[in-house]
């Protein structure tokens, strides 16, 4: 039974009518399937793979931000002993792109390079040192072109054309433009009591996973190509390889080994994957490429720098009337997910608050810098930052508490946003209440000593979307279960476990549905030969979609097994209960067998046992172009409260506490959900305070190392308090929704808002470097009557009796 149209209250995964089901596994903290393997160093990551005769590959990169390639002379490199092959773009001329509408990348540059670090040639040699030496012998003749780094300039300069587009010659360096309006925005402003306008800036950050990208390829004697790659998207890589290498998909196998962090940075097909595959085909030997940390910075695909202008109207009673946004998005040199980014920058803001009218005008531009792409909270972290700070500014103007205003504008449950997104469950009010209580908000906000403050922010995020990247009507997630006579159930899922614990989720669900000890369930994931297709670990879709598919498959099996045992006992199937490794008759508890024995009975009855399960989203989204982008079967909700201490002499902001309340629908494994909440908050705080993906005036990344691109150490990270909220979504697996990206968003604006409470300055530009804080403090002191800084009563306090 396909999951395709089984949604809503009668969905197989809804809570049983008539009461809360008693779960045995769901809702408890379970160990991860791979926890001890990772803790003992046994887990196999891509660079841990070593194959007989394996060659090592390296990539030659462009030292120019923009140049035409006149010629490439590889002869000296090929002549070096130990070099087996050298590739240039000519060997893989077919373009690709993760989004099928914007295939503007080549595995190796064919005629042009578009940023410093762009891939130009690849070498396979007997070892890394020889490969490095070979790179130095490749002679590339470049015709250097003028380069453009600032997005405003890229829009206007007609002499710099980063991507030639013969079909749209007037397009210049425009990557994507989206302008959408819902409701009457001007009327909304006219009816407002207060309108605030503001400009906000986000500099740009990158993922910095601890594992650099790595890929290994091997061609079997019968021609089957196997690629192991640290990727979030085995399925899309599979398709891209077939396209670029001109091989049938059925002759390619893609496997994702244990993966050391991704956060969206490994969700494009990358040059190293195509190169090792092609080099393996050409040399007949297995080939590995491991990127250096520096190369990871060039691959980038990080969070887009944005310049955001927001205008919001509000009434004195706290109700929003209209929101207008104009956003300039710096896309870097290629499209990557940019089409989606541009839509997300507007589409994902329309909750948790009701916008009676909304308009956004977002422009993504190419520049000669490493390409931007999806980073945790793709395309929505920056707008959320701007809006939540502006919302705080509105609260100040009307003298209303920031949490109260958010309460008053909550759109509710089972409703539709102004841009046509369907909201089902929403625990946002409980999120607000949780952080309000935990932080002592009512007693402390506005009342702490000068320099110390509390801030709040809210957000909403997708649990996957309606949009399967390439148009098709097939399931977005599929899973296969195999029952073994030993009592083991094996689950095969395409879902990519990138550390978030998706394989553990699958195990928990199978164990729950079949009444097994989780140790009797094993999961094999992300092998395109063995596992049904899952679209990948991005857009926070895996818990929701793979989870639902797993329930689908497991319940089919359960019915088969219950039916067979019922037949054998000659009772009705409803009396056959599966739990805790046993199967017994609900009306005669003495009649009990082990689950393993039940499997035998079922196999005797039904022959070889197994099942498949799948999930596809219902048709969602507004009825306009782009309406499906951002349309999710369920949205998570988050609120952060943050406590900061500002050192007014150094400008340094120290986050003392961060309370994260996140509505994940249901925490199937609360320990893992808390881990996602804490990790997300950590990343948001890091982006607010210290991360800066900085391309200097030469087009070079200013510091492509983990020393210079700073992420917080254990002494830089505040106390993180995860508070789980459950709204039991009607369509989520056991009611579950996402938890991997939503909890990042509110950290950035909550810190800005807390700083305002602490010292009365508005931080509208990220990151909040100490220098910026000092500048704003100086400005504030200069404009205060006494010339000094002190806590001024807010409009809110003045309104208090």
């Amino acid at each position: 039974m396909a999951a395709r149209d089984q949604h809503g209250k009668s969905a197989p995964w809804s809570p049983t009518p008539g009461g809360e089901p008693q779960f045995q596994v769901v809702g408890t903290a379970q160990r991860k399937v791979d926890g001890l393997a990772k803790a003992t160093g046994q887990a196999l990551y891509t660079d841990d793979i070593r194959l007989p005769g394996m060659l090592h590959a390296k990539i030659l990169r462009s030292p120019h931000a923009h140049a035409r390639i006149r010629s490439i002379d590889c002869s000296a490199a090929l002549a070096l002993p130990g070099v087996h092959a050298v590739l240039t773009g000519a060997s893989m001329p077919i373009k690709y792109g993760v989004i099928p509408w914007t295939p503007d990348e080549n595995a190796l540059a064919v005629d042009k390079v578009r940023f410093i670090g762009d891939e130009v040639a690849a070498v396979a040699a007997v070892d890394e040192e020889t490969a490095n030496e070979a790179l130095k012998r490749i002679r590339v003749d470049y015709e250097v072109l003028p380069a453009v780094f600032a997005p405003e300039e890229a829009l206007t300069r007609t002499d710099v054309q980063i991507h030639e587009n013969p079909e749209k010659p007037g397009r210049g360096n425009l990557s994507k433009h989206v302008r959408l309006e819902f409701g009457d925005v001007e009327q909304g402003f006219a009816s407002a009591d207060v309108v605030v306008e503001g400009r906000y800036r986000f500099h740009g950050t990158t993922h910095a996973p601890i594992e650099p990208h790595c890929a290994v390829a091997q061609v079997a004697p019968d021609g089957v190509l196997t690629l192991w790659s640290a990727t979030q998207i085995t399925h899309y890589v599979h398709r891209a390889l077939a396209r670029v290498l001109e091989l049938p998909e059925s002759q390619i196998r893609v496997i994702q080994p244990a993966l050391g962090g991704a956060f969206g940075g490994k969700s494009d097909p990358f040059a190293l994957e195509f190169c090792v595959a092609k080099l393996a085909l050409v040399t007949g030997r297995p080939v590995k490429m491991l990127w250096t940390r520096e190369e990871v910075f060039y691959a980038h695909r990080g969070r887009h720098p944005m310049q955001l202008a927001y205008k919001t109207g509000i009434k004195r009673d706290g109700r929003l009337t209209a929101v207008d946004a104009k956003i300039l998005i710096d896309g870097g040199a290629y499209s990557s997910f940019g089409l989606v980014t541009t839509y997300y920058s507007g589409q994902l803001l329309t909750g948790p608050y009701d916008f009676p009218a909304y308009r956004y005008d977002s422009t993504r531009v190419f520049t000669n810098k490493p390409p931007c792409g999806p980073k945790r909270g793709h395309g929505s972290v920056q707008p959320r930052f701007a809006f939540e700070v502006q919302l705080d500014e509105l609260c100040e103007r009307i003298g209303m508490d920031p949490i109260e205003v958010r309460r008053r504008n909550w759109h509710g449950e089972n409703t539709q946003t102004v841009n046509g997104q369907r909201i089902t469950s929403s625990g946002f009010l409980q999120c607000l209440e949780a952080v309000e209580r935990a932080s002592g908000w009512k007693q402390r906000r506005g009342r702490l000593p000068f320099g110390r403050g509390l801030g709040v922010a809210g957000s909403m995020y997708i649990s996957g979307t309606n949009y399967p990247i390439y148009p098709n009507k097939m399931p977005q997630a599929g899973i296969q279960l195999k029952v073994d006579r030993s009592g083991l159930v094996m689950a095969f899922t395409g879902g990519n476990d990138i550390g978030q614990g998706s394989s553990t989720l699958v195990r928990s669900i199978v164990a729950e549905e079949l009444g097994l000890d989780p140790r009797d369930v094993r999961v094999l994931a992300a092998d395109t030969d063995l596992c049904p297709v899952d679209l990948g670990a991005y857009s926070s879709r895996v818990t929701f979609m793979v989870g639902n598919a797993t329930i689908d498959a497991a319940r089919k099996l359960r019915r088969l097994i219950q039916g067979a045992v019922a037949d054998s006992w000659q009772v009705s199937p409803q009396r056959v209960f599966m739990g805790r490794g046993e199967v017994f008759d609900l009306e005669d508890r003495s009649r009990r067998i082990s689950t393993r024995e039940a499997f035998h009975i079922a196999e005797e009855r039904h022959d070889t046992l197994g099942s498949t399960g799948s999930y596809n989203t219902p048709t969602l989204g507004g009825d306009y172009r782009g309406g499906t982008i951002g349309a999710s079967p369920a949205y998570s909700f988050t609120a952060h409260a943050v406590e900061v201490q500002v050192d007014t002499e150094t400008g340094r902001i120290r986050v003392e506490n961060c309370w994260i309340a996140h509505d994940c629908g249901r925490a199937i494994n609360p320990m893992l959900v808390a881990g996602q909440m804490e990790g997300s908050a950590y990343m948001g705080i890091a982006e607010a305070l210290m991360e800066e993906h900085d391309i200097n005036r030469h087009g070079l990344h200013a510091g492509p190392s983990l020393l210079d691109y700073r992420i917080p150490t254990s002494v830089d990270t505040p106390e993180l308090h995860a508070l789980i909220v459950e709204s039991l979504d009607p369509e989520g697996p056991y009611g579950a929704k996402e938890a991997g990206e939503g909890p990042l968003h509110p950290a950035l604006p909550a810190i800005s808002n807390a700083v305002f409470d602490a010292v009365g300055i508005r931080l509208r530009e990220l990151p909040f470097s100490p220098g910026k804080v000092l500048d704003l403090l100086e400005q504030r002191a200069a404009s205060s009557p006494s010339g000094r800084l002190h806590r001024t009563p807010s409009a809110l306090e003045e309104a208090r009796p």
Binding site: A434, A438, E719
Partner: protein, 198 residues
């Protein structure tokens, strides 16, 4: 090229390696001990942390030839050391990490565990501040460090016969959004109410 005589995880190895190879290269590519990870290869991330004579150092910044005569322990050797001390199974710290959810992608964890194990050897019952300081050379991108701290505190507490305070997500049940009421919650511990503004 030299034949290096290295003592690793209690075993004596003879491995051929040139002088310019780091300990990390010899471990991973010479001996197939791939548990120690390469995150940056120049001392910025700590993923390659191993013990030399019981103290945590960075294998990517250590020349293999200069470790002859030293006692090297890698992540693969932690469980063995535990068993040599009379224990069973994995090192209790490894188990605590698993029980607390401290392993997300797991890539930083071999290095993190080596730093944590060295801390507990010096300081069997460390404060959270001491834990933070000891781990401050190991970058983690996934966890925000919280569950790592909890794992170390759990391990230390159990050894001392104590039960540590439960983490925030288990200290109270999830807030139930359907009934639109929240569990009774006082402000979190450590949050002191103000005496009044200045």
């Amino acid at each position: 090229m030299r034949v290096l005589r290295l003592e690793i995880n209690g075993d004596h190895h003879e491995v051929g390696a040139p002088d310019h190879w780091t300990l990390l290269e010899v471990l991973r590519y010479g001996l197939g001990l791939t548990g120690s990870k390469q995150g940056c290869d120049k001392g910025d991330c700590g993923a390659c942390t191993v013990h030399v004579n019981g103290r945590p150092v960075l294998a990517c910044m250590t020349l293999a030839v200069l470790t002859e005569g030293a006692r090297i322990t890698t992540i693969e050797g932690l469980a063995g050391e535990h068993r040599r001390r009379g224990g069973a199974g994995v090192d209790p710290l490894q188990d605590a990490f698993d029980r607390c959810g401290a392993l997300q992608c797991g890539f930083c964890q071999p290095g993190m565990l080596m730093s944590a194990r060295a801390l507990l050897e010096r300081e069997p019952d460390p404060s959270r501040e001491q834990i933070r300081q000891a781990l401050s050379g190991n970058l983690c991108r996934c966890t925000g460090y919280t569950q790592i701290f909890q794992a170390i505190e759990l391990c230390a507490a159990e050894r001392a016969g104590r039960t540590p305070a439960p983490p925030s997500w288990s200290a109270q049940p999830p807030w139930d959004a359907r009934s639109h009421s929240a569990p009774d919650a006082e402000p979190a511990p450590g949050v002191s109410l103000p005496q009044g503004g200045r």
